[in-house]
Amino acid sequence: MKILLRFFLFSLFVLPALFPTGLHAQQTRTITGRVTQSEDSEPMPGVSVSIKGTTSGTLTDAGGNYSLPNVPERAVLLFSFIGRQTQEVATGNRAAINVQLEPNVTELTQVVVTGYTTTQRRDITGSVATISSEKFKDIPVVGMDQALQGQVAGVQVTQSSGTPGGGITVRVRGATSINASNRPLFIVDGIQVEDGALALRGFGGQNDNAFSAINPNDIESIEVLKDAAAKALYGARAANGVVIVTTKRGKAGTRTRIEGDVQRGFIEMVRKPQMLNATELLELQREAITNGGGDPERQGLIPGVTNGVNTDWVDAVTRRALYQQYQLSARGGNERTQFYTSINYRDEEGVQLNNRFIRFSGTLNLDHKASDKLSFGSNLMISRLRNDRVKGDNFLDGVYSGAIKSLPFFSPYDEQGRLYGPNSGGYAGFPNFNPVAQALLPRFQTFATKIIGGLSAEYAFTRRLRFRTKASVDFNGVTEDQFEPSSTAIGGFLPSVGGRGYGVYSNGTYITLVNTNILTYSYAIGENETHAFDFLLGNELLQRTERTASVSGRLFPRDDFTYISGSGALVDEGGSFFIQNGLVSFFSEVKYKFKDKYLFGATTRYDGSSRFGSGRRFGFFPSLSAGWRISAEPFMEKYTFFDDLRLKASYGFTGNERIGDFQFLTQFGGAQYNGNSGLAPTVLGNSALQWERTREINVGIEASLWSGRLSGTLDVYTNLTTSLLNTFPLPTTTGFGGFQGNIGSVSNRGIEFAVNSVNIDRLFKWRTSLNLSRNVNRVESLSDTLPLFRGYTATGITTTNVIQVGQPLGTFWGLNFLGVDPATGDAIYEDLDGNGTITEDDAKVIGNAQPKLLGGITNTFSWRNFDLSLFFQFSYGNKILNFSNTSLLNAGQDIQTNQTREALRRWRRPGDITDVPRYQFNPDRAEEDNPNNLHSSRFLEDGSFVRLKNISLGYNLPKEWLTRFRVQSVRILASATNLLTLTRYTGPDPEVSTLDGSTAAQGIDFFTFPQVRTMMVGLTVGF
């Protein structure tokens, strides 16, 4: 009867709850009251007040007041609010009932954003991790990707270098692709945002980072979707995981909360590379030349003269840098309109001279309820970046790279205090350049403007049937303004490039537009909602355009002219470019819950991408999942300490479409000859080009015990990516080197464990959260059995990295170094083919960059107004290729580079037992003729580390001190990052990757600027 009635009411589009049912002939009355927060007695608007066992109910108003008519006798009232413990109150014969709601200690009822919808954590059947802003608010992270570091099981975050605003690699459950992108999909407030580098010009492997334009202080929470059940709704782009970022929104309340935040501190190098001083290097070089049969004096290496100058070049190009950040935010509103707004300024100097990152950003998020049915929302984030970059890594004219290599025998400045230029006699010539000049003289400025904006509307046809539409934009405008004067390497040394100054000016705009339309319908039948359904139907249109233009000029008349127009400089090169791609998608989701005990979910997404030919444009990505709340079974009743115990499993498919555009077409592109333009074949098309497809299986268990004192999840997964977007190699007799095909497969299997516990909960509180994960990556098949060589070319072998069936991505290749012969001091390598000579045929897999185990542990202590947080992060079992040492510990390969202090351990006389071979220098010897410096496992090191990523100590001023100043809260903070690192890696820092973002050649240290330590104090004042 009741169902029929409800159906009737539903069909009238009227909220059934507001209607008296009229079926109860009992005596009723009206109950009024006020609901407040237990901790500060602030009124709580929007709290649902209902009569238990019925559908009658109401919501509290802005003042937290409610009035509920028609309450029968002996009724029980339910007060519920998201993030608060639901309270049941027996009415008795009271007419007024005031209630204080306690915050939820457990995470069970926490609302989790799962993409297009939200759900309670206790009902999740997939694998989703949430990072609230609490986790990173005390850490001076520059972007949201950095905020993820060490916080989530199954997510590996590596900062490629210690450059501010620099590249960060994020991998969710391993890498799935060889040629297409391995970056997760980042969605900020509903729009896929630009990832990777913004600047057009790479600076020796180190890129800038588009995410650094988004102020993490405006982020409310970050959700990482890890398995098919969670992310298949993102279909074609989801194979590498989905990261959903939700910004802060307004909260209704009587008062507007205003918060000011100041952070100031300094940044310095964690560990400097340990190089030889002038005397030590001179002795080494003289020894090397003598060993090679030469005369050190003739090379100009004279004790007392050559080492008369002793420059510490790393000191010369680095500094203690300043960090400052200011943020002002306000959030508030009434029950109809809420807002959040903020303004932020961050200024972070690089430790390298002239390196600086400045961000100015503002946010305005609004929500408005036009009527009971119609509501609007908007989000707007604007930021402006200025990034003063310096060249890095494997650039000969890099700053830090130049500094480590530079000989201490020279100085940066001459007697008059002028910087030595590239052609002056007082400084070592090619391949060395004065790194101080390389830092100070060029102008490498990148300016970026980023706007993320969105407008949404939601219409509730009924309480159950809702329609939501949202249009969003992600706008990125980038200008690069660069000039290298004639006193620099490019501007002065290489006549073919600069000659007399070299200037580049580029502009790029990258715009993504998205429109999402979603219809949701929820439905429950039966007593206590025995059968509960949630349906979702949606479509999405995405379009990304990219417009770039660049001009470069040479031969500037003087260094005072630094722009091309009006200077008379020669336009060297100019170009413009436009490309666009798009995605049209339809998706649906069904969730079914039986007796709140058995949970089922099914999603489908049907994606069409412009990157594939007409017949292959659409892909279908379904998923199925199920959950079983064991704790709700009768046999579990005696184990009352279980709040929730849930088994979950999922199966589904996701895709990857991130390759270049128009790869399915055979193309002719522009060609030139003798100043004429024409056409030449460029790309061999493949009309059968298709998505990469990842099949994912996840099984997990989630538990919450003792009212949330202990909670944890354990997930096991096995994923297989097939039809890899990969170049199908062709012999060039076809006219082409290959075409984009779908070849090969990669698997990722792993286990993840996360646990949160409240160890002590008295006046002294101690909480721990720990996450551990292990991922095993393996290349299952390739186009043929031949290995693919990647990474850097290396002496004596093909390249530093290999992609080979049976091995993980990121596998290192080289000779196997067995040690140093104590009799001769020569390196001994494994002679694999046993033919008596060491050639590239003796190379083999010598290790890989993937960790066996990684994780993080945070311990938070609080006592009265003090709180202390210690966040450790670790990686175990990964290898680092210390490729810098092929130059810095080079067994006498050349005498143009300084050597690390390990060179002091070198073999010197028969009988020496050491692992550093003899130094011998022959001026006219080829690299291959120096058997002691061939590329081998000598340069491969254990990259395991444990690091105190952050320690922060906070103090909240007692309330009673503040009230008379009309101040709500004052918090003082001291925080330090990278304070302590335990590692056996001999380079400056184990967290390093010179090829920023690379999967096949990750974990290489090639003059990469190491991680830095930030120490800062902060003050937060709330009004």
Binding site: Q299, N423, G429, P431, L494, P495, S496, V497, G499, N515, N517, L541, Q543, R554, L570, V571, D572, E573, I579, Q580, N581, G582, L583, V584, S609, S610, F662, L665, T666, Q667, F668, G669, A671, Q672, Y673, N674, G675, S677, G678, L679, A680, P681, T682, V683, G685, P729, L730, P731, T732, T733, T734, G735, F736, G737, T793, T798, E840, I895, A926, E928
Partner: protein, 454 residues
Amino acid sequence: MRFDLKYGFLTVVALLAVSGCREVLEPQPNNVLTADIVLTTPEDVPAVRVGLYGAVRGTAPLTVVAGDLTADMATHNGTFTVYNELGNKRITSSNGAASAFWGSLYQVIYISNFIQERLPRLTSVPQAQRNELLAEASLMEGYAYFLAAYTYGDVPFVTTTDVDANRNLPRVPRAQVLDSALRYMQRAIPNLPDSASAITAFASKDVANAMLARFYLYNRNWQEAENHANRLINAGRFRLESSFERVITREFDSETIFEMGFGNTSNDDPGTSTFGLNNIFIGRREVIPSNEFLLLILSQESGERRLTVDFDFSRQRGSDNGFSVNKYSGPDQGFNNITLFRLPEMYLIRAEARARQGNLTGAAADVNVLRRRARAPELSVGNQADMLTAIERERVYELAFEGHRWYDLVRTGRAGAVMSAFSSNWREAYERWPVPQTEIQRNPALRGQQNPGY
């Protein structure tokens, strides 16, 4: 009423979604053409011609890399593995130049085949115009096979643009490849423009004759080599520049027969790539002139041709002798073109052919034409062996770093003697470049077909 509004709203959204689909999903490529519409309109003819010559130009720096850096002309001074292997005579099958040269030759062959397949069907273009481009394509294909045969020996022979056929092609005996190359060159002649009407950046009958002169020289057909060289020497359209300096610093000078052109101050310059000659000789100085070569080029006999190299005292240190190759400038100096054929080579071809046929006086006269121009002492007539040695040296003076030395040493059988003296690493195998390792990996018909010694 409200129903209408709601559903109307939904309908509008749905319509927008559907109409937006096409625009979103099928963006027009705006900087590429799909292959099926290339050479279907007359406007494409000059454009594809530029593509053909662009591809030929792509092979040009590699002829220098092969011809000079494989031999005793230069030593390695930089950091690139490619040049390290070549300079130190430790050439491997994975050498980047070996695969780049191979790839660039087959690129020429692909475009030639593409033109020969498509163009005959494009009837809207006048017959004569079609025939001319077909002849140019044929000549360039012949030239590509000529280079391939003398660089790699037996090579796959490609006659179509069919990818499936061309990915599985065996090596064809060198003699057969050379026969075809000759046929392609000869076939081209009737329809090529007369020289007078064309600038030397494009093919003409003169270019074909110069190619044939070199072809017959390599093929030891002395009579034909002399005949073809004669045609160019006697044509009157080419004359020696008054000084060697002008040969170096001028583009399209009066003795050029075929020169690969770069536009100077535009995007169309040699750039700073691995095989950009200015980049490797002057910019990075990846390779520098060898001491052995310097002894020759700086000798009195060489005369003004010493201008081939440049010396800078400040660069002299360690193994760096401070010298650089000066024949290829950056764009701002304006002599970055790569000359493939010029008149002095014809004199040298004729001299060698004459010497081989016993006409030593005629040979000496030819050599002395170049000596006089270079302000160098004249050569006197000796015996045949001396004359041949003198011509070999003269080729070094005159044609240094224009891609000849290694081919000369190999074809005259002198490679073993000269190169072993130059480098203890020299092996007979280096008389051929290796078939690129990647080709062997990717082309099943090449498995186990590597040149001996690699």
